[in-house]
Amino acid sequence: LQGIIKGGKNIFEEIEKLLIEADIGPSTVYDILEAIREDNKRIKNYKELTGFLKAHLTKVLDGSEGKLNLSDKSIILIYGVNGVGKTTTVAKLARYLTVKGKKVALVAGDTYRAAGGEQLDVWANRLNVKIYKQGHGADPGAVIFDAITSFKNKKEYTTLIIDTGGRLHTNENLVNQFSKIIRVIRKAWGKIPDERLLVLDGTMGQNTVNQVNIFSKVIDINGIIMTKLDGTAKGGILIRIFKKYNIKIKFLGMGEKIGDLEEFRISNYLERLF
């Protein structure tokens, strides 16, 4: 690959470093560099190379921008591993949708972790939105079932957003509990949730792929939200994930405040990568 750049080894190493440090992952990085070499036999300098890279990655990510498909009565399910930003993202989505004229209600589906429900309750109060909650230790399936049953019959709400407790994809019990939650939603709603959004932490590396792998076995993921891209992490793993799973990316979390949610745009994303 050193042959592709007249500058030689230094430019090649520089770009490899940039892509690896973005968490794109070694095998995907080498695929990318190989593809660039095939299309561009003579690259004069680093600036030209990044230009080709951006063009190539824009192609690779073609079709990755997704949006919420909501009708006048929809359910959004939020899930993912521990600490990625689910509860905060539920609150951000509530505000985002309220601004768009939706009437939002929330479900405190984390009945396990200390202050899991209380945390979302604080957000609900700040946003002045309805929240369905039950006591700590209640069965999450039951809380969700009751919430949907009520939501179905209330004209005043258009969108129900369900927060769930963090769960490692490697924890069989919690993954089974998640499958049960989906069955409960099917029963109460008559179908699977309209938006089934996996939350990924932008600071995480290659393990993110394992998360998508396992969760996609128990639910048809139709959207990804990646949080914490307001730090120094680049979230390059999204490139590897989209290449492999073709799941649309709908939002990026860019901070801890309620307004720190942006619609995923390939150009903005790639701009930050470089």
Binding site: K17, I20, E21, A22, D23, G25, P26, S27, V81, N82, G83, V84, G85, R113, A114, A115, E118, Q119, D121, V122, W123, L168, H169, T170, N171, D201, T203, M204, G205, Q206, N207, T208, N210, K228, D230, G231, T232, A233, I237, E256
Partner: protein
């Protein structure tokens, strides 16, 4: 053990006549494996280059047992970075030891604070925990609930000022003869100047004995940035790697250890109060090597 693991990773070198190019090729593959394990780019390069220098000289390659010598060198280099034995943090009884727990958002600090308190309480220390997280909704409740559920001493005084809270907590701990006071702090970005200043001021105000960085073991390349910034600003004395009950290879451990030069003290391997254990460097090294 780690040496067996290294032997198997380098097994392509076994029973062959070795030359510099071939050894370098196998080491390149090891470097890629480290990158796939989320070891930071610079850390992986530096590690492999160090090993390359020591293993491709004529002294090694021309010897009777080049493969074994290369395995030994790689093992030594790993042990040099990760440490050879677990490092036990044993606070002195009879005086107040203050631990300040810091790290990025969602890394597991609050949970680990409760686990640490329980860990030391079982060893006979009198431990007090308190939260300085005035930002995250229900953060104080989270620690209070964990403390109540596990019979741990918890201190809190209503306030929006972390520095003031820290002083009051210390006074209370001294007055009531605690051996250990553990501060849970809010998650923060290493590039947030104001927030990094806040934990520095807390450290200087209470004269913290330990600054412990909590890192999510699933973190990727960013581990290096996090470790560097927290170490530069606070001089961390130790770290805890959480969520090792996942299937992450945990290369962040190598990066954090390499850059901060502070020992990894504990690992978190679950959400329950007992899910904390001593960090074993050779076990982690094996895990990273895949």
């Amino acid at each position: 053990n780690l040496k067996d693991k290294i032997s198997s990773v380098l097994s392509q070198l076994k029973g062959k006549r070795l030359n510099k190019d071939y050894v370098e090729k196998v080491l390149r593959e090891m470097r890629i494996s480290l990158l796939e394990a989320d070891v930071h780019y610079k850390v992986a390069s530096e590690f492999i280059n160090l090993v390359k220098e020591k293993t491709t000289g004529e002294k090694i390659l021309g010897s009777l047992t080049p493969y074994q010598q290369i395995v030994d060198i790689v093992y030594q280099e790993f042990v040099k970075i990760m440490g050879e034995k677990p490092v036990l943090l044993e606070p002195q009884k009879g005086r107040l030891n203050i631990m300040e727990i810091v790290g990025l958002q969602g890394s597991g600090k609050t949970t680990q604070v409760a686990k640490l308190s329980n860990f030391y309480k079982k060893q006979g220390y009198k431990v007090l925990v308190t939260s300085l997280d005035v930002y995250r909704p229900a953060a104080i409740d989270q620690l209070r609930i964990l403390a109540n559920n596990n019979d741990l001493d918890f201190y809190y005084e209503e306030s929006k000022k972390p520095i003031k809270m820290a002083k009051k907590a210390k006074d209370y701990a001294v007055k009531n003869n605690y051996d250990i006071l553990i501060f849970d702090t809010a998650g923060r970005l290493h590039i947030d100047k104001e927030m990094m200043k806040e934990v520095k001021v807390v450290k200087d105000t209470v004269k913290a004995d330990e600054i412990i960085l909590v890192v999510d073991s699933m973190v990727g390349q960013d581990a290096a940035n996090i470790a560097k910034e927290f170490n530069d600003k606070l001089n961390i004395t130790g770290s805890i790697l959480t969520k090792l009950d996942s299937d992450t290879r945990g290369g962040a451990a190598l990066s954090v250890r390499f850059i901060s030069e502070a020992p990894i003290l504990f690992i978190g391997k679950g959400e329950k109060i007992d899910d904390i254990e001593q960090f074993y460097p050779d076990r982690m090294a094996q895990r990273i090597l895949g």
